[in-house]
C-alpha cells in the first residue's frame, strides 16, 4: 500500500519539476477529451501574446493521439499510458509514455530518426507530401510526428525501455520554447 510519506514525495517531486499535469492510466477518446479540457483551462491562465498556450495544446493533442496509433490488439497494455506536462522558465515539456510491442520498434525508430534529422524546410516538404498521399494508418501516424516537429522547432526526443521479451515502454518528449 502506498504510504503517506510516498505520496508526499510524489507531491514534492511534482512541485520541484514544475509538473502541471501528470496522468497515468487508461487512455481513450473520452479520457483524452476530459484531460484536454482541464489542460486548456490551465493553459488559458498562462495565455500570452505569443500564443504559446495554443502551441502547447497542439503538441499535446498530437502526442496523445500518437499513443493510440501504436496500440496493438496483441498488447495487453495497449491503452495504458502516461502524460506529463512540465513548465520551466524558458520552455514547456510534453512527455508521453506507452506500451509498445518490441516488433514495432524498428519501423517506429526509423520514422522518428528520419524526422529528427530534418530541417524546418524539409519537414514542411515532407508534411505536404504526406498530406497529399493516400490516407493510410501508417501515413497519418507520420503526419502527427512531423506536425509536432514543425511546431516545436524539431525538439523531439524518444526512448524505449524494454519491459518484457514482448513489450517495451515508449517515451516521446517534445520541448517548446517560450519566446520572450
Amino acid at each position: 500500500m502506498t504510504q503517506v510519506s510516498t505520496a508526499f514525495e510524489v507531491y514534492q517531486f511534482m512541485s520541484e519539476k514544475n509538473i502541471l499535469i501528470a496522468f497515468t492510466g487508461y487512455f481513450d477518446h473520452l479520457v483524452t477529451t476530459s484531460l484536454l479540457k482541464n489542460i486548456k483551462n490551465k493553459l488559458s491562465v498562462i495565455q500570452s501574446a505569443t500564443g504559446i498556450d495554443k502551441k502547447v495544446y497542439n503538441v499535446l493533442v498530437e502526442s496523445i493521439e500518437n499513443i493510440s496509433k501504436y496500440a496493438s490488439s496483441r498488447n495487453p497494455h495497449q491503452n495504458i499510458a502516461m502524460l506529463l506536462l512540465c513548465k520551466s522558465d524558458d520552455h514547456f515539456t510534453v512527455i508521453t509514455g506507452n506500451h509498445i510491442l518490441n516488433n514495432d520498434i524498428p519501423a517506429l525508430k526509423e520514422k522518428l530518426d528520419k524526422v529528427a534529422g530534418l530541417s524546418l524546410i524539409e519537414l514542411k516538404k515532407m508534411y505536404r507530401e504526406q498530406m497529399l498521399s493516400k490516407r493510410t494508418h501508417e501515413n497519418s501516424a507520420g503526419l502527427g510526428i512531423i506536425d509536432i516537429a514543425i511546431k516545436s522547432d524539431n525538439q523531439i526526443k524518444y526512448d524505449f525501455k524494454q519491459l518484457t521479451e514482448l513489450t517495451s515502454f515508449y517515451l516521446f518528449q517534445t520541448e517548446i520554447n517560450i519566446q520572450k
Binding site: K54, E62, M131, S140
Partner: protein
C-alpha cells in the same frame, strides 16, 4: 439542395453550409474520434452541391461568388487531410469556372494557424483572404 448544418461538439467543428447566402463555414475545434465518419458526409455534400450550382448558373445566370470560411481554433493532423480534401474540391469548382472566395480566419496570437493557412493555400494553389480575430 438543403443547407447542411452540424452543431459543434467538444471535438468536432460547427458546419454551416448555407445554400441561400452561399456561405460555407467550418469553425471551432477539429479532432473527432473518427475523422472519416465526420468528414465524409461533409465532403459528399460539397461534391453533390456542384449539380445545384450548375443548374442555378444555367437557369438564373446567377454566378455570384461562393464564400468558404475556415475559422478553426485547432485541428489535428488527421483533420488536416480532410480539410485538404475540401480544398481540392473547391479547387475543382474554381477550375470549372465558379467564383469562390476563401477566408482563413485565425487568432492573432496563433502564428501556427496562419502558417497552416499559407501552407494549404500554396499546396492547392488557391488564394486565401487572411483575417485575424
Amino acid at each position: 439542395m438543403d443547407s447542411l448544418i452540424i452543431e459543434a461538439t467538444e471535438d468536432s467543428p460547427k458546419i454551416i453550409f448555407d445554400t441561400v447566402s452561399n456561405r460555407f463555414i467550418i469553425s471551432g475545434e477539429s479532432r473527432p474520434e473518427n475523422a472519416g465518419k465526420f468528414y465524409t458526409p461533409v465532403i459528399n455534400w460539397i461534391v453533390n452541391y456542384e449539380e445545384t450550382l450548375f443548374s442555378r448558373k444555367q437557369e438564373t445566370k446567377d454566378d455570384s461568388a461562393l464564400v468558404f470560411i475556415f475559422k478553426l481554433d485547432y485541428f489535428n493532423s488527421t483533420s488536416a487531410k480532410y480539410i485538404m480534401d475540401v480544398l481540392l474540391i473547391i479547387k475543382k469548382f474554381v477550375d470549372l469556372g465558379y467564383k469562390i472566395n476563401i477566408e482563413w480566419h485565425y487568432d492573432k496570437r496563433d502564428d501556427d494557424m496562419l502558417d497552416a493557412g499559407n501552407e494549404f493555400s500554396d499546396t492547392v494553389d488557391l488564394k486565401f483572404d487572411f483575417i485575424e480575430y
